[in-house]
Structure formats: C-alpha cells, structure tokens
C-alpha cells in the first residue's frame, strides 16, 4: 500500500462558541492512500460534509491531527490553507457552485486567478480541460444556459484546472437525473483511473459501490469501513 495522502487521527469537530457546543465529529481515524477512491455514506446530519470540509482545508479540526501529504495542516494559516486548496485540491459540489455572471471558460479560469501561473500562458490549458469534459462548443455560454449535467462537468473542469492530487466530491449526482449522473460518475471514474485520489460523499449505495472502499458515518463516528 502506498503512503497515505490523507491521515486523520482522532479528529473532533465542534460547532459554536458557547456551551453546549455542537459535537459533530467525535473521534475520526481515517487514512486514504494515494490513488484510492473512497466513498463516504451516512444519514443526513451525520457529519459527512463537515468531514469533507476538513479534508478540503476549508476548516480546521477542533481536536486531533490532519496530515495531508504528510504535512500537519491543522496548524496552517488562512493563506497557507488557501494555497493548498488552490493547488492540491479539486472540489465538486452537489449544487455545482458555478459563478453565474461568468462564462464557462471564465468559471474554469477562476482558480488560475489565485495561483502563480500567468493567465495568458494557461489559455490553451483551459480549452484542453473544457474539451476533456466534452464542452468545447459551450465555452462562451453562461451557466444558466447549460443543463445540470453540463454544469457539473464545468465544475469538474474547474476542479481539474490546477491538476490537483485530491478530488473531493460532495454528493456530485445529488441534483442530477440518473442518466446525466451516470455520465458524471463515469468522468470521476476516469479521473481515478488517471491516478487521482478521490473522496466522494453519497447517500446512494449503488454510487458508493463504484468506489474501492466505503466509509459509513453515523452521528459523527465511523461505524463501518470496508471494501465496496
């Protein structure tokens, strides 16, 4: 087994400043190996999104260590976490989260605005990535002119633009019908095949079966872990 890209050790997460604080994650231990495809299932409110946000460096743990690629990011500053999100992590959301006033091309460009590379040097790259999700003829369209499946493919292109090692998806097919959902999942399968680590939240057991490993979360604790 390869070295873990993600390693959570005794992670707790509380919400709120005043007692009683909401105890959402209650001691999570989880390793994800590089190139692994893990799905997280669980009932609504069990803490799946909270866990994924922690993995995505959008938030810090209240307690416990989070090692990303061997680095303990629980001690990182806001700017350093931003840099990691920009370079190492690709997010795919249930509600796509495209910026409505920007075109497909510009939406895919957004992560480049916050990175080190120049915009001019990455124009070709943007076209390539848009092409790879099959939307090269829609690059000047607005999100409102696209179907849900197309929007999610734009979001995937955006997640890929900085070639991240880790893809995090929070119910990526939750807002899609089964056919377009299947297309999106196939795309994620491809990305896994190319060697990226994927952590995906889903409540659909069939979707979870596509992953290599299932993690079942209940009330902030991992209750079941095993091969899908």
């Amino acid at each position: 087994m390869k070295a873990p890209i993600i390693s959570l050790q005794g992670v707790h997460k509380y919400y709120g400043d005043c007692e009683p604080r909401l105890h959402v994650l209650k001691g999570i231990d989880l390793d994800v190996a590089e190139g692994e495809y893990v799905s997280i299932t669980g009932t609504s409110g069990s803490g799946k999104s909270t866990l994924l946000n922690l993995l995505g460096c959008l938030d810090n743990t209240s307690n416990g260590a989070y090692l990303l690629n061997g680095r303990d990011v629980s001690l990182y500053s806001d700017d350093e976490l931003s840099k990691i999100r920009n370079e190492d992590i690709g997010f795919i959301f249930q509600s796509f989260n495209l910026i409505p006033q920007l075109t497909v091309f510009e939406n895919v460009q957004v992560p480049l605005l916050y990175g080190a590379r120049s915009i001019a040097a990455t124009t070709d790259l943007c076209h390539e990535v848009i092409d790879s999700v099959g939307l090269s003829d829609r690059s000047e369209h607005r999100p409102t002119q696209l179907s849900g499946g197309e929007c999610q493919r734009v979001a995937i292109a955006r997640a890929l633009i900085n070639d991240p090692v880790l893809l995090l998806a929070d119910e990526p097919t939750g807002n899609l019908d089964s056919t377009t959902g299947e297309e999106v999942l196939a795309l994620i399968d491809d990305l896994h095949q190319q060697g990226r680590s994927v952590v995906m939240i889903t409540h659909d057991p069939e979707v979870a079966n596509r992953s290599q490993r299932r993690v079942d979360l209940r009330d902030g604790i991992i209750v079941e872990e095993g091969a899908a």
């Binding site: 840099k83 999100r85 920009n86 959301f93 916050y114």
Partner: protein, 425 residues
Amino acid sequence: MISQKHLELVRMGLRSLVGYPMRTVLTMLGVVFGVGSVIAMLALGAGAERELLKEIGRLGIQNIIINSIKPEVQDTSNQRSNWISSYGITFKDHRQIVDTIPGIEKALPVHVSKKTVWQGSKRVEGTLYAVTPEHLDMFQLNTSVGRNLTHLDDEKLSRVCVVRSGMLKELGIYQDPIGFGLNIDKETFYIVGVLKDDSFLGYARKALSVDAKSSEIYVPYSSALRRHGTRSITRRSGSSEATDVELNQVVISVTDLDQVLVTARMLGSLLERNHPEKDYELVVPLEVLSQRQKTQQVFNIALVAIASISLLVGGIGIANIMLATVTERTKEIGVRRALGARRRHIIAQFLTETTTISTIGGGVGVLVGIGLVQVLTFFTGWSAAITLSSVALSLSISMAVGIVSGIYPARRAAGLDPISALRHE
C-alpha cells in the same frame, strides 16, 4: 504577470457590473452628479478668475492710477467766496511725483471733461479725454479704422481726435468717419481714428472713470489744454457749476514689478501731505487683483466643498450597494475561497468593483459637468473655463471615493468564514 492578473480581475469585475446594469447605473449616479457639480463649480471659479484677470489685467499690473475725486463735504465758506470749486491732483503734484519718486517709468497726465459734441445738427453728450499718446498704448486702445494719436499731434497742438465707433451713428456719420469734424466748445476736432469696440469691463471702467455709454473722445493732451484750459462749466437747470481740476488722472507706470507696492506707498504719503482733504484716490491694480483673487479662491473652495458633499453621498451610496452585494454574493465568495482565493484576493475583487464603478461614474460625471457648464454659460452668460487639472482632480477624487467606499464591504466579504459562505443560500 501581476498586472495582467489584475486586468483579468477588472474584466471579471466589469462582468458582474454589466450583469446588473440598472443597479450599476443607480450606484454610479451619486458619483456622476458629484463629479459633475465639482467640475462645473471649478469651471465657473476658473472662469470668474479669468474674467477678473482680463478686467483688472487691462489696467496693467505695473501701473498705479491716481484719480481726482470731488471731496464729500465742501467747505461752505470757501464755496461762497470762490464760485469755482477746485480740487484734485495738481500740476505741482505731478512734477513732484516725477522728480522725487524713484523707479517711475512714466507718469501720464489725463484731463477728463464732460462735453456736448456736435456734428452738423446732431449732438452727443461725450467725455473728452485729453491724453498723451502713450496712454492709448498703455490701455491697449487700438484703432480699427484710421490711426492713433501721435506725439506730433501733441507737439503741433493738432485738433484731432480718436473716438468710439458707438457714437458715430448718433452723430449721423454712416460712411467713412475719417476727416469728419466734431464741434466741441466752439472748436473743431477732426476724426483721425476709430477705436476697436472692446471697452473696459467692470472694475477697470470704474478705475479709469470711463462710463458705460462708450462715448469717449480721445484728444491730444496739449491741444485740449491749450484750447479749453482746465476749467469746465456744467450748466444744470439754471444754475451753473464751474470746476477747476488740473489733472483728473495720473497714470503711473512703475519700472520694476516688485516695486509697485513700495511706490504706491510713497505716492500715498506724498499725496497725503499735499492733500489733507483727501480729494484723490489711489488705485493699485496689482493690489486689487490679489485681493479679488483671494476672495475668489475662498469662494471657489466653498463651492467645491458644497459640491463635494454630493460626492460624499455618492460614496456612501456605493458602500451601501456594495454591502448589499456582499450579502447577495456570499455564496460566490465562499466558492472563490474554496477554489483558493485568499482574503486579499476577495478584498481586491470588491475594491476593483467599487473603484471601477466610481471611476466610470467620475468619467461620466466629467461629461455631465462639461454639459452643465455649456448650459449654464449659454443661459446666464457667465464665464467658465474647464481646466485639465480640474478634470484630473475629479477623476482622482472619484477613484479615491471608490476605494474608500469599497474598504468596509470588501473587508466584510473577506472576513466571511468560507464554510458558512458556501452553505449560504
């Protein structure tokens, strides 16, 4: 590289402004009118100042003008014993000035008298100015027809005159006026030149005691003095009044501009000694100009301060709308943060948007201001001058308004917690 990213940021900022055109326009309006009124106020101020320079500058800032004035309170006993009222600057004063005060280039004598001017059966009430030829040069009294007075006219005591064109029609002269004879006190003066019709304005007219009717007749000083003397009799409803003023005016030109005020002080004390009854006034155009400029500047500052209030209101408007925008775009801010935007990127984004709004508003405001000035000058006849510096000032102020009004909303946006922002619907 940085600048190119910034351009991209501006472009995307513009995109969100174009996305809500009505809101963007309404947000801009405050700055548009603020800058418009600042431009208009500055233009009117500059116009007034230019007018002032034209008006007082015509007097010559190197000159000092001494006018004889009739004393307010007449000594009654004096009047009874002597029916001629005699006051003002004398030949002796003139001689003393020339002899004792240093740094004087010229001291030109002027004699002014009201006369009835006849041409055939037509007549005009005119003002006869007995002046030296230099006087006409000094005040840029140039002829449009014929010639000006010369030293030869003066030496030969020629009976020639230069007139304003306005009076020609009243005298029934419609063809070439050169050579027409005007009868003044039983003497005939022949017209040799007609002045360009650019009479003195406002203060300059008062300082040179020129009336608004433009009925000045300029004759050689020596000719007039030899023929009419210094006494003049004015008949008014039965009673007649005689005055004897040797010099109505002396125009002094100071060699060195730096010495004008010093010379004026010396002239003042000389005249004070000779004329305890204060029957003269000393006009120093340089002093008047700087006083009036000071007043004008205070006025300008007040005007611009008032106009700036609308700019301030414009800035508050931008801040207000931007705060609303931040709430509305909380989700977008969360998304951008998730994609790697740092706090300063979010700040830069919102500052770029507010600065773009206010700068475009400023640009439109400049055009509105120029339009406003055109309309105002058209309907009121006020003088106005739109200066490049006022445009530059307004544009920089509007840019600053954008930055200042953007700071609070931008910091609010950047301070949002990424997760809460993402969860926001």
